[in-house]
Amino acid sequence: MSEIMTGPEVNLESWVDNIISKYPPKVAKKRRRHMVVREEGEAGCSQTIEANTRTVPGIISQRGCCYAGCKGVVIGPIGDMVHITHGPVGCGYYSWLTRRNMYKARDDKKNYMSYCFTTDMQDHDVIFGGEKKLAQAIREAAQIFKPAAISVHATCPVGLIGDDIHQVAKDMEKETGIPVMAFSCEGYKGVSQSAGHHIANNKLFTSAVGKVDEPQPEFTINILGEYNIGGDAWEIERVFEKCKIKVLSTFSGNMSYFEMEKSHNAKFNLVMCHRSINYLAEMMEKKYGIPWAKVNFIGPESMAKSMRKVAAFFNNDELTKRIEAVIEEEVENAKKGIEPYLKGLEGKRVMLFVGGSRAHHYQSVFRELGMEPVVAGYEFAHRDDYEGRHVIPTIKVDADSKNIEELKVEADPERYMPAIDEEYRKRLEEEGVLSNYDGMWADMGGGTLIIDDISHVELERLILDFKPDLVCSGIKDKYVIEKFGVPSKQLHNYDYSGPYAGFRGAVNFARDIDMLINNPAWKLARTPWKDRPFLNASLNS
């Protein structure tokens, strides 16, 4: 366990016991189940973690709500749509331009990213109902903007007062001739953003995907769960296009509504963020027979590995040659770009607490930089994101999640047409290429620590006891961590940098990590006269 220890006396198990002792007994029992000290050996074989269960009230958590997962994460990035938040002003306001999911307007010039739309519900609406106002809001949006489509997102009060937003959507779609999708993603649903992902997936699948059939070239793929933070999707596309592979649509970074309607014509789905989008991948496979593979575009090695999955899937010598050629060239350039930073990063220890995938996705690139991920955990993931999909059957859905609808999907009589035959599919499955995700801790060796839905007090103790060189987290934690004098990397917004995905992104990432760890400004934090006794006196002045 050496890599995490600051001194031989630190023992992870006792650290865990100590930290939970800070909670009231009942809370301690609950939190204990969210922490796993990894043993050597097979992933998940003997160890399990609790995840996707409610956060204890009063605990300071990183988590957001269902609305944030639906509107904020999955639907918001679709750039040629008008997204209307139905509720009081706040929710729409806070999710206005804050996630850095970048969008470039298509030929129709439609780009509503810099706009925020809300019904700004007032007490009158809460008392007498908000359906009329919502209908009128949709009418006004349609008249002023004529967007490709409109989405409606319910916030907490809407569910309670019983507005039927789906009926309103249906009526207004008829009236305006513009597709209107309604999402019942009230903030209190589920236990985190995760519920919102699922709700978003369902509606996209039923109302958008599959609307327009359009034959596509042989090597056409979709990328699922890639939100184009800091331009990641563009770097990924660049690489695939270089391999002459067409990326038909990306869910939902830089996504146009019209591309979404055709997405089912792709041959293969690549799943980046397993947590937020695996529902859609599953449903598209069931209905249209599109196989999917889990990928990771972060870091040259993972990127190359992901590209080889595509090569394996299409199983075409020409294509495979192209892909290998591109990999060779790009990896070399990336290594050249990263090389200067390696010396300064060697052996640095990093902790990652973020999202439902990123805390895993970034581990390999850190290792490529010579750094050691020692503690990690997700904010809103499920057990399979830790332990691997094989545990899914063993996961019991609790009261908080059971109300999130599971769609029954059947193969489409006309349009179910897998690009590869059953036998080859089976083989790829067995090889772990298709429909498979081993989860985070397959990549985390013994002596590391996994903490799900980390709380503030746990984060504090980790920093004080283990003095990491870097902690990856989000905006709420960033300045907490840095006040300890420890640099923090935001893996939601990349600290307004990027792209980090793909080959060129890896170089940007290395450059930024070098800054966080080697910027001399950090050395200034401690005052030169700090420990002068006669000076400390003044501290109480």
Binding site: Y115, T155, S192
Partner: protein, 460 residues
């Protein structure tokens, strides 16, 4: 970036586009952070607390600690009482604050949770430890704005903490409006320069502008001390700096502790600061020290030295009433012409006050003033009647870029530039800092607009 905004202004009855306000709870959370050792608590879904913490963090670039009742679907059906009780139990054991300040959300308000009795219960059965405090206020997100939330928490602080005290005293309470720590620090600074005996709350200075010392403090050194707030009931006068955000607390102090109150504008600009200094000097019978007179004179000097860049320049300004009103007066006193004056916060009193200011300055030119307005409307106004300068929060930059108007950031939030936490807009020095920004921004544009075959002015 805002290409889709049409020139023609069409009436809207339901759709708000690019709001110039947000919801109550964030204001309550901010006000609560102005108490030393306080953990704000959001009684609602996790998302609210997460959004408010994130947003405040983006504005202050500082840790913003707060907890939540983490409502689930069950709680929203059967009520959030148990969540709040569980929260208090956990918070006091794990995070050890001196005080927890609870505010509601649209969810708990729609359910109708009865905070007073829940908290009363928690106090009685010692879920709230001896010597610890739990205060609260109601902040329905579907009423008013973030400013209302700040006001409600300020009043809640009084309601829950201030104690009546009849003994004679010459001391003022200062209740600053919703503004940055730098402003609160500056206001305290002026009071100290005048040697006034005062109690100020909320006070976020020292809480949301803390130093980097490689030593994290969950409860930073700053903030109003609980013991001081309690004593506020014994002061001789309350100065409420901002009708929208601070009057309610003054009213509450009068009602509960019969401390008379005076409502003033935030001391932004020459005249509003004059009135503040005047009020303190009068109430406390204190002279105005040379240091303050000199600072004032330097601001006036700047206004006259650079008048040619300010005089009769058309300005569009938006933000919160308590900051926009004195700033509008400041612009008028500097000879500028506010043309479009907008707040997202509801309240006809805003329009009335702006009209009054225009009259006081003897203006008869046409201008647009409106409350409960949004930035989409402001943008359309600007398209119809262009301005030389736009003043407002970060969101204004998309309008400024689209219309190529010089832009100066002002108010809440400022997410994309640095400085507001440390360089005040309040007080005479704050006026100098702000107006230098205006002058330099206008000069930047003049330089940029110099034709290629000519030479930029060397001197301004």
């Amino acid at each position: 970036m805002l290409h889709h905004t049409p020139d023609e202004i069409s009436e809207r009855h339901a759709l708000k586009i690019n709001p110039a306000k947000t919801c109550q709870p964030i204001g309550a959370m901010y006000a609560a952070l102005g108490i030393h050792g306080c953990l704000p608590h959001s009684h609602g879904s996790q998302g609210c607390c997460s959004y408010h913490r994130s947003h405040l963090t983006r504005h202050y670039k500082e840790p913003v600690m707060a907890s939540t009742s983490s409502f689930t679907e069950g709680a929203s059906v059967f009520g959030g009482g148990p969540n709040l009780r569980q929260s208090l139990k956990t918070i006091f054991q794990v995070y050890e604050p001196d005080i927890v300040a609870v505010h509601t959300t649209c969810l708990s308000e729609t359910i109708g949770d009865d905070l007073p009795s829940i908290i009363k219960g928690a106090v009685e059965d010692k879920t709230v430890p001896e010597g610890k405090h739990v205060i609260y206020c109601n902040t329905p997100s579907y009423v008013g704005s973030h400013v209302t939330g700040y006001s409600n928490m300020a009043a809640g602080i009084v309601k829950c903490l201030c104690e009546k005290d009849e003994t004679e005293s010459k001391r003022i309470n200062v209740i600053p409006g919703f503004t940055d720590p730098s402003d609160m620090r500056k206001i305290k600074g002026m009071l100290k320069e005048m040697k006034a005996d005062f109690i100020m709350f909320p006070d976020t200075s020292g809480v949301l502008d803390t130093p980097q010392t490689a030593e994290y403090k969950m409860y930073p050194d700053g903030g109003a001390k609980i013991s001081d707030i309690m004593r506020a009931g014994g002061s001789s006068l309350s100065l409420c700096l901002g009708r929208w955000s601070s009057e309610a607390a003054g009213v509450e102090l009068e009602k509960k502790c019969s401390v008379p109150f005076k409502v003033l504008d935030l001391p932004i600009g020459v005249l509003a600061t004059d009135r503040f200094v005047e009020a303190v000097s009068q109430e406390m019978g204190l002279p105005v020290p040379k240091s303050i007179r000199d600072e004032r004179g330097k601001l006036v000097d700047m206004l006259t030295d650079y008048q040619q860049y300010l005089y009769k320049k058309k300005v569009a300004i938006f933000g919160d009433p308590d900051t926009v009103i004195p700033m509008t007066e400041f612009l008028l006193s500097a000879g500028m012409m506010p043309k479009h004056i907008i707040t997202g916060t509801p309240g006809k009193a805003f329009d009335k006050r702006i009209d009054a200011l225009m009259k006081e300055h003897g203006h008869d030119y046409e201008y647009n003033c409106s409350n409960s307005a949004d930035l989409f409307y402001l943008h359309q106004l600007i398209k119809k009647e262009p301005v030389d300068l736009l003043i407002g929060n970060t969101y204004g930059k998309y309008i400024a870029a689209e219309e190529n108007i010089p832009f100066v950031r002002f108010g809440f939030p400022i997410l994309d530039r640095v400085g507001h936490s440390h360089f005040p807009k309040a007080g005479y020095m704050g006026g100098m800092h702000f107006i230098s920004g205006v002058i330099n921004t206008l000069l930047d544009k003049m330089d940029r607009d110099t034709p290629e075959d000519m030479t930029m002015e060397l001197v301004a």
